[in-house]
Symmetry: D2
Subunit: 364 residues, 4 copies
């Protein structure tokens, strides 16, 4: 269980790192949306390993096939099944992983929870499962663009201690894709890239922070008290591999301010009721306020490192393990499209939920 | 919608700040649990306004009644309905709020989303709705104690810039309840209390961080890929009023480390496979690891302040608003039992989910 | 678990036959609906015991209170909590039930499933739990009327072997309420009433069939493949106490026909595409067709009879039990408003679901 | 939406009659279950067209592939994705269906609900979607057998007016599979087969009733008040194409009896508390009683007939349509494995639900 996400726009992902493939079924997609496989593929290519020299060189072409739910180029409202086969499989590379728990990976907990696991490449706990999320998110993103002009832009805000300057403008796709780090500030990106290259040579890894911004959202998305928009975004982000934190708007830093400094007064601007600042990050009381959505997600340094580490075997002996071959010294550049995908999924779901309650009936 | 939480141990909360009362229905409670109203009341009393001089002086006795689901002192497995009436109602205090949006409150978004709202005391967006959460959480907590010896301890870790020393031992209930701030470090608590008193005099407010620790959990709770334990905890925390961030284990700070510094190697300890450190915060791959669960939640400074602020009226005129009467200069002391309640709810739900999948059938 | 119904318009019911009361929380109600307690009360009064000489004489005034979710006479979109206290409690009447399983009641299975049960009046398994359904259904019904002019009319179609003539016109509320049996055919109603009176004197009971018709529905409600409209109606009906069967349109009888006799050809009528007949009962492929919805529910004879029956005690001894006091010789007249309530709940939920998927976004 | 079934053992089905294929993802399968593709295939072969001369001759080999969730022959607790490609596609056969609504099919309602549909072979409304249900059901069935010795046996009880004698013993797989009709009474089966052959020659169709029996169930499955076992079985059955009714135990016929005739007294038998009869059909108060589960489902005569029928075109013109080529004069023999599959899915889900609430914690 745990492999279905969403209430109305629901996705079911499946697949392991090694085996037949990875995929997703989208249930609840609105009908009539023009959709071509290329629109899915472009997002998968952003997530794909081997796309630049600073990410893992695992070779995965990750070509997606749409098996259902689309007829003559338009969605029919029935489930959309998508799949990409696994091609670069080298199960022999995982012999050691069969019996020794990799530190800070899920081997140990999967073994204890389920009693039986697929150890090849981490099986279901591999970040390869996010292929399904990105494929489904590409559809959600298209819906947001087509119907509401909503733009989602995530980017690498910080790698280790190298951070972008705060409060830049809304980053364009071109700016984000302009360098392999996916940091829209070119100067910062260069320093980040250098750090990642150095860390890779050390056989070590680094983490950092991905920021996500959304503009063009209507007021009203979010269903308090439990299904607040930020609560569902937090869940979406913390459901991603390697994440350790989430903050929206002023976040943890905002706790240093006094209420009189932190509050966002209202004003009239551009003919609308707006807030002067946006420490709230685009939500008030769990509901989108019409301001730009802004949140950040912390990704820990990649657990796989090319160093010898102490560990314990399945049979309970203290031993050592050493990562080898290809590894990803920093997952953040590839995390950017995944963060965007999850964001799009949450937003479409909440848009539909809001419309269901507040737009189905009229009592005038 | 949005007022039901959980999959198997499901709670439905209801009620507004003013009106008939606030309550909760718990569906899915295991049968046979000894349960007395006093066990609910003790937690409600920790949440209650007016319990000390540093929190709001709103008078609410918040006496809970159990209406169903318990027979002769034991749960029957049928829904448990609990309610506390609203007593300290002064609707006239809210005349200004009817027509002017309070900055950084939910007035504006509720009005726009629903078109019709109860403005008295914030209606459903009032933190008073957490009464239902705490009442339900008291049952979840009792289950964890009775069945598994699981202990949950939340506490105020930081107020504005005044933080507790890191990595103290597991705080006892006595230590947490030993001062009105609910910070188990007495020296830090004194400084926090002083800060809160000063801020109250200014008519201003402060925020901070609540930390929560859980010990005694078995390995195996959490349902990847979407319903990871930390994902559901993040959602639970961000569903609380005034929260802006969540982090587990090393959190945002952990992103400054290298993988070789951050990883938690395994070792044998006390006859079990354990991790040497606990930067993971008690989860691996979304599943509890058997180590202590540790996470933090950021609470913004209270939005209500006794100062004049700019705002806009419902009819779209720029105007001013000034909070008056009783206000809560710092919600964190009262947030502690609420954080514990939500944590208990998530844990019981995941315990049941885990058992359903991995403990119902045996295929030997 | 099992006490929450619906996906978007979700109700949580609670309460036992004896104890604090019975109630319901409605989550997901559209905002802005004018709603007065009297509109709930009128439906509860139709369900109430003691309303005529042919139903149980248990005295329950069943006065409903709305505790939340309505402000100045209009719904706010937040949870609506409603409750009616239990007043006519005579726990001493149930001493025998504590230790002896009543045949064809739920005593035995509740005891075995939960290990601990409230035996007074059947506890949660009492039909008294339907108070919450009727209260919530009254709101759903109002929504259907206010927004779409949808009319729901259930009635007693058969008592034992006494059946109404087939294919009468759509029965009005006046016709249904015109006699205590709630059979709109006066002549049949008289015979049914006589039968029920005779059976009551014998201390025995009878069952029969309730038919439900809905007119004014739009085309499009229902979510194949699993959440077909008829599937959710079937679930709703079989979730009622004492039900043993459900059929829609031609039902079981339709299986005697050949396809050429059973099919409903399309034609143009009143400017719309309509079916000539309606053996389908208002659904095609799980989706409402715009024709009148027609389905029937079988209710078994009441299990409580004033006769001595063989049974077994909780401790496993063969023994006897004899119903005494007040009993309901035929539940069907009181089942009519309950069937309508459940129907309204299913329809509003599906209306919202349909709108969410097919009405939220436009891709032109 | 509407393509996910179950709460804990959840299946997501996808696919249309024509297109890439049909499939299913099973989320929540217990880990450690030995599972081979052949065990899925054997059930798909029972559902397959062309298996005998009395069903449709559409050629579908329906070879299943398991893509995930199984490692070295045992389930891992992660999602199991299964797929069978579509092979016998003749889209040109459906030219007429593109523009003319087939009577008593879903063409009209899909067109109106979604605005855009796949008309080839009925698209998603084709009974071909049940491939996914049968594949998932085969796993559920294996779980029931492996863990609890539960046996499920469905069979054709009636074709049009040709019915089996009542109250036969529990039919074995051999008896059911002993003839192409899947009626365990050989003499009745012969008459049914003759009827179907005659009807096929007429280009017409017939319906009937499938009965399902389950033995070996424990007491306790079912979650009142809404998720009664019979309610979820009713939903499961009415979610199948061409179904018009459901009854459990005495069903509609039981309404002709008096309570004193209908009640099932308890007795001690084989060291257990049992009911003397089983008019209840194996459930009491929505919970399995330990007696044999017995229910029936009505299937209407196949809508596709080789006769000219009146209809209306998409553009609103009255016209005619005539089915051609291969058709299924009677779906019931192929419905038998589908009924069994849905039954198994409901039972495994409820077994897990019951265990979660009543077996996770102990409070002694």
């Amino acid at each position: 269980m745990g492999n279905i996400f969403g209430t109305l726009f629901r996705i079911t992902t499946w697949g392991e790192s090694h085996g037949g493939g990875v995929g997703v079924v989208v249930d609840g997609c609105p009908p009539g949306l023009p959709l071509a496989p290329e629109e899915i593929q472009v997002e998968l290519d952003r997530r794909r390993p081997g796309q630049s020299s600073i990410v893992t060189q695992r070779k995965e072409s990750d070509v997606v096939t749409i098996y259902s739910g689309v007829y003559r180029g338009k969605t029919t409202g029935t489930p959309i099944s998508m799949m990409t086969p696994n091609v670069d499989q080298r199960p022999e590379a995982y012999d050691e992983m069969r019996t020794r728990f990799r530190p800070s990976h899920a081997d140990f907990t999967y073994q204890r929870k389920f009693g039986w696991r697929n150890p090849e490449g981490g099986g279901r706990s591999s970040a390869r499962e996010t292929v399904g999320r990105v494929a489904a998110g590409a559809i959600a993103r298209k819906i947001l663009q087509a119907a509401g002009g909503v733009e989602i832009s995530a980017f690498v805000q910080r790698i280790q201690d190298i951070a972008m300057p705060d409060n830049q403008g809304f980053p364009s796709r071109e700016e984000v894709e302009g360098n392999p780090v996916r940091c829209p500030d070119a100067e910062t990106a260069a320093r980040m890239e250098e750090r990642i290259r150095r860390i890779r040579k050390e056989g070590d890894s680094v983490g950092g922070v991905v920021e996500c911004r959304v503009r063009g959202l209507p007021v009203g998305l979010g269903a308090p008290v439990f299904d607040r928009l930020e609560a569902d975004l937090a869940k979406a982000m913390l459901s991603l591999p390697a994440t350790k934190g989430f903050e929206i708007g002023s976040g943890f830093g905002g706790t240093l301010l006094k209420g009189s400094e932190h509050n966002d007064p209202f004003e009239r601007r551009e003919g609308r009721t707006r807030t002067v600042g946006n420490r709230a990050g685009g939500v008030l009381g769990g509901i989108s306020s019409g301001e730009e959505l802004r949140f950040r997600t912390a990704f820990k340094p990649t657990a796989t490192i090319l160093k010898t580490q102490k560990t314990v075997s399945e049979s309970g002996e203290e031993t050592e393990i050493r990562g080898k071959g290809r590894h990803d010294p920093c997952v953040l550049p590839r995390a950017v499209p995944i963060v965007e995908a999850m964001t799009a999924l949450v937003l479409v779901d909440h848009w539909m939920l809001h419309h269901a309650q507040c737009g189905t009936f009229s009592f005038e």
